[in-house]
Structures are given as structure tokens and as C-alpha cells.
Amino acid sequence: MTVLNENIRAKTSLNRKDTIWKKIVKQRQLLVLSVPFMIFVLVFNYLPIWGWIMAFQKFVPGKGIFGSEFVGLANFKEAFTDSNFINAIRNTLLTSILKISTSFVSAILLALMLNEVRARLFKRIVQTISYLPYFISWVVAVSIVYMVLSPSSGIVNEILVALGLIKTPIAFLGEGKYFYGVVALSNVWKNVGWNAIIYLAAMTGIDPEIYESAIMDGAGRIRRIISVTLPSIMPTIKLMLILNLGNLMNVGFEQVYLLSNPSNIDASRTIDVYIYTYALRSGRLSYGTAIGIFNSTVAITLINICNYISKKIDGYGIF
């Protein structure tokens, strides 16, 4: 009996192996097309994890990972007594929450408004204009933001002064208290059009008959927006919210770094910015890696939680 079982097992495993090998040989051309590029993914996206060892060392670039001295959790312990790092966590969360909520609401509002526009040409022009800033770099965007917010010649200050809302121009980038707002609004300016696309796409899928029966029931346009359009795009809204929350720890380095300067650093020091300006530039590689690991771990946990929730609600997640 056992011998027979063994035989069968041997045979099937052999068979399975066989088919895999056969398949590999058969599909060798597909492998030629993909394996070289998958190696790139492995090297550039996964190999850096090897460097995480540095976080547990007193890493000296000259000695490399093999030659450097191990210090256990010292770098992590240091991080949690480092007031700048605590400040960075706070800034990351605050900036992120503000950014997510503003971009989220603005995109849905824009999509709702565009959906109500009957003049096709007007709609197309607005769309063309609103997508444009998405394609420029953050360097250009920040350069433009800097022009607009300039205390000496910026239009924003001129308007605020002319309206009598403020007496003297404000240096928006020179003080920490305006920083989160500047980040959130410049992000809306750059991305609102692009972010609205996904909701607009969801709206084109709504059955016109639902609108017609709403009209029959005497629903006005605002009523229809609230009772038909919004509920219909709810699945998309939910999915986007989950995706965004998964990215809570990822504020977007480029924008924040470019807008930061010594006078607003207490608000602009996010985790990414801190790793770059403090750890990388001053050579504290081990410490920076430790902070980076903390950030990645929290981010992965969040994404997995969000993915799990998304699967529960909608039946499919991101991976």
C-alpha cells in the first residue's frame, strides 16, 4: 500500500516537474523577453532590502556591510528619543491627512461639476486646462508657486492686500504655520484635474434611465447629484480612499522638499525630507536606514490593512 502510494507520489511529482520543465523549454522565447527585465526589478527594487542590515550597524561606507560593526537596535532607540524625528512623524501625518482630504474632495467636486456641464466644447476646454499642470515637474510647479506667493510681487498677496484681508504681504514660505496649507493647495492646483478623471469615468457608466426616473419623481438637479450621481460613484470613491490611506506615510518627497527651507523646516521636515537632508547629506547612513525601515514597515502595514478592507468590501484589492 505504502509502496504504491510512494510510487504514485513519485510519479506525479515527476510528472509535474516534467511539465514545468517542458513548459519552460517550450516558452523559452517568452522567458527571453521577460527574464532580463525581471532581473532589473529584482536588482533595483528588491536588492536594496539587503541594505537594511545597515540599520543594525554602525555602517562605515569604506568598510561596507561585511566589515561594519553591529550595534543591535541602537539606531532605532535613538530615533525615538530624537525630537526631530518625532517632529518628522507629526509633519508627515499632518501633511498627508491634509493633502489626501483636500485632493480627494476637490477631485470629486470637479468631476461632479464637469458632469453637469452641457456645453461640450466648454467641458473639453476646462478638462484640457485642468490636466495640464499634472504633466509639469514639481520643480517647475514649485518655481511657479514661488512666483505666485512671493511677498514682493506675487499675485496672491496683492489680491489679499487689495481686498483688505491683510495689511502687509505674508511670506507664505517663510513661516511654518502656512506650510501645510501651501502643500495641500499647490497639490490641488497640480493634480485636481487628473484626479477627477477616474470619477468622471465612473460617472459615464451611470445608466441614463436612473436619471430619467429621478426626473419623473420630481428630483431637481441638486437632488439628482446627491441621490443618483454620488451613490453611483461610491464604489470608486471607496476604492480611491482606501488606496490613498494606504499611502498615508508617503507624502511625496519632491514637493515637500522643494517647498522647504530653513525658516519653515519645523513644519516641512517630513520623514523623507529628514532622511535626505539629515541622514544622507551628513553621512549618518545607518540612522537614516533605520528611519527608512520604520517608514516602510508602517507603510506596508497600512497598505495591507487597506488592501484587506478593500477585498472585504469590493471583492478585489490591489494585490
Partner: protein, 312 residues
């Protein structure tokens, strides 16, 4: 796309009974959208106006939609006889062209293979998708580039970003939509996979290939952070965006106060420029190519975006 547009029908009914509510809603929406357009476009126009205005005159401010004292001097200063900028322009164009080409080639190959339902290692897909949400971190990546001897080379712009998971998933879902009947005949004739990919799949995927090409090219053209950390010290390998970033950072660190004092202009009073005038001209130069490809880009990306969607 071909779906019946709900508003075509609505407008017929809607115009018949235009209520006060409708009117106010329309007014609100049109004004809001016009406001959005103005807010989006004005900063560009204002920057362009400043870039064509005399540098010293600009310090007075008060320039809005067009220059007050027209001049080409700011551009002249950047483009004529400025070795650093022309070199940066050359590198920017090179990385856009080479990076665009290799990136699209890689994307097409991997996307095709992963679109095949019978592919042996189809299960590696999540391994690819995961890279969209995960990074090993700035410092480990930096050390890796150092160990691979990529720092201070042009290839650090091309190799690490060549295989982008997002673009691959995007193109894969397009290729998956191509009916098998297109490739069946070729398969029966015993055509190689390469032949199927490049003579059947590729021509059928042109819209998505165009979209991805433009995405990758725009991303390459806009990149500056890799230049800063890997090649910032090497004037032969800097890019236009990085040069602009340097100007911007130096302007920002003097921040708040009025930083745009007249720069010692070198030769003569005639050639006077300020950090601000140079910055605005650089901004315009680095955004111009985007403005040119944008109309072509726009034709495709909405379809591509809604098609690829967020599904993995």
C-alpha cells in the same frame, strides 16, 4: 466611450423646464470652472511674462499678463554661450529619448509575456505590483547604486526606472483585451513569440504604446532628484530640471524676504539679469516641450487611463 451620453437626453428634458435651481446651479458651476481655468493658467502666463521682461524692471513687480519692457536677454543669457545649460539640455534630451525608448521596449516585452494566460511564471505578477507600493528606502538604494558603480554615470538615469510596474500593468490589461483570434493563425504557422509580439501585438497596441511612451518620456524629462543625489557633483551629467532646482533652492533659502536683488551681471549693464529673471526663463524652457507634446498626449491618456484603471 461609445455609450449613450446621459446628458444628451437630460438636456432635452432639462431645457424644457429650466427652474431657478437649475439656473443658479449652472451659474455656480460655470463660474467655478472658469475660476479653476484662470487659477490654473494665470501662473504660467505670469511666469512667461516675467521671463520676457527686463530683469531690473521686474524687480518693481506689477507684471501680470504681458511683459512691461520686452527683452530676450534672459533667454540669451541662458541659451547663448552658457556651456553648463547647453550641456544640461543635451543630457535632458538624451535621457528622455534613450529612457523613453528602452522603457517602452521593456514595458511592451514584459506586458506581453504577463498577458499570456499560459505563461509558466505568471504568478510573479504580484511581485511586480508590490514594487508600486514599496521601496527599500533612499539610503539602501543609494548604497546599491554606489556598489553597482552607477553613480556618476549616465546609466543611473536609464536602468533603475526602465521597468515600471504601473506602466506594465497598464499595457498588460490593454494587450489582454486583444482577441486571441489575431494571434491564432500566426501560432498555427509556427511563428516565433518575437514575431507575434512585434508584428501582431505591437501594431494593435499602438494607442497604449504611444501613451506609455509619452508617460515615460515626460517622467524622464521631469526627473531631477536622481540627478541631484547621484550626479549632482558632475557638471557633465546634470539635467535641465536639476539646474532649475538649484536656482530655485538658492532663491528659496534666502526665501521670505525680497531675494531678487540685482545679480552682479559680469560684463556690462546691458547684460544685467537677476536670479528671478533667470529662473523664470529656465522655467519656461523646461516646460515648453511638455506644452508641445501635451495636445498629442491628451488624445490618448484619458482612454488609456480609464481602460487600465486602478485594477491591478
Amino acid at each position: 466611450m461609445e455609450k449613450k451620453n446621459g446628458h444628451g437626453m437630460l438636456s432635452k428634458i432639462g431645457y424644457k423646464r429650466m427652474t431657478v435651481e437649475d439656473l443658479f446651479l449652472d451659474i455656480f458651476i460655470y463660474i467655478s470652472l472658469l475660476f479653476l481655468c484662470v487659477v490654473t493658467l494665470y501662473p504660467f502666463i505670469n511666469t512667461i511674462a516675467y521671463s520676457f521682461n527686463d530683469a531690473i524692471d521686474s524687480v518693481r513687480g506689477g507684471i501680470y499678463l504681458w511683459p512691461r519692457q520686452f527683452t530676450l536677454r534672459n533667454y540669451e543669457k541662458i541659451l547663448v554661450g552658457n556651456k553648463a545649460i547647453s550641456q544640461a539640455l543635451f543630457i535632458s534630451v538624451s535621457r528622455t529619448v534613450i529612457g523613453g525608448f528602452t522603457g517602452v521596449f521593456a514595458t511592451l516585452c514584459v506586458a506581453y509575456v504577463l498577458s499570456r494566460r499560459d505563461f509558466v511564471f505568471r504568478k510573479v505578477t504580484p511581485f511586480l505590483v508590490f514594487t508600486m507600493y514599496f521601496s527599500g528606502g533612499l539610503i539602501p538604494t543609494f548604497i546599491l547604486m554606489r556598489d553597482l558603480r552607477l553613480i556618476n554615470t549616465f546609466w543611473v538615469y536609464i536602468l533603475p526606472t526602465m521597468v515600471g510596474a504601473y506602466n506594465i500593468m497598464f499595457m498588460r490589461s490593454y494587450i489582454e483585451g486583444i482577441p486571441d483570434s489575431f494571434t491564432e493563425a500566426a501560432k498555427i504557422d509556427g511563428a516565433s513569440e518575437y514575431r507575434i509580439l512585434f508584428t501582431i501585438i505591437f501594431p494593435l497596441s499602438l494607442p497604449i504604446v504611444a501613451t506609455i511612451t509619452l508617460f515615460v518620456a515626460v517622467q524622464q524629462w521631469n526627473a531631477w532628484f536622481d540627478t541631484m543625489i547621484y550626479n549632482g557633483m558632475n557638471p557633465k551629467l546634470t539635467t535641465l530640471q536639476y539646474e532649475l532646482q538649484k536656482l530655485l533652492t538658492s532663491a528659496l533659502s534666502i526665501a521670505a524676504s525680497d531675494s531678487d536683488a540685482v545679480l552682479a551681471s559680469g560684463d556690462s549693464q546691458r547684460a544685467a539679469v537677476t536670479p528671478m529673471s533667470i529662473r523664470t526663463a529656465m522655467t519656461v524652457i523646461s516646460v515648453t516641450p511638455i506644452l508641445f507634446v501635451y495636445p498629442f498626449l491628451q488624445k490618448y491618456f484619458i482612454r488609456g487611463l480609464t481602460l487600465g484603471g486602478v485594477k491591478g
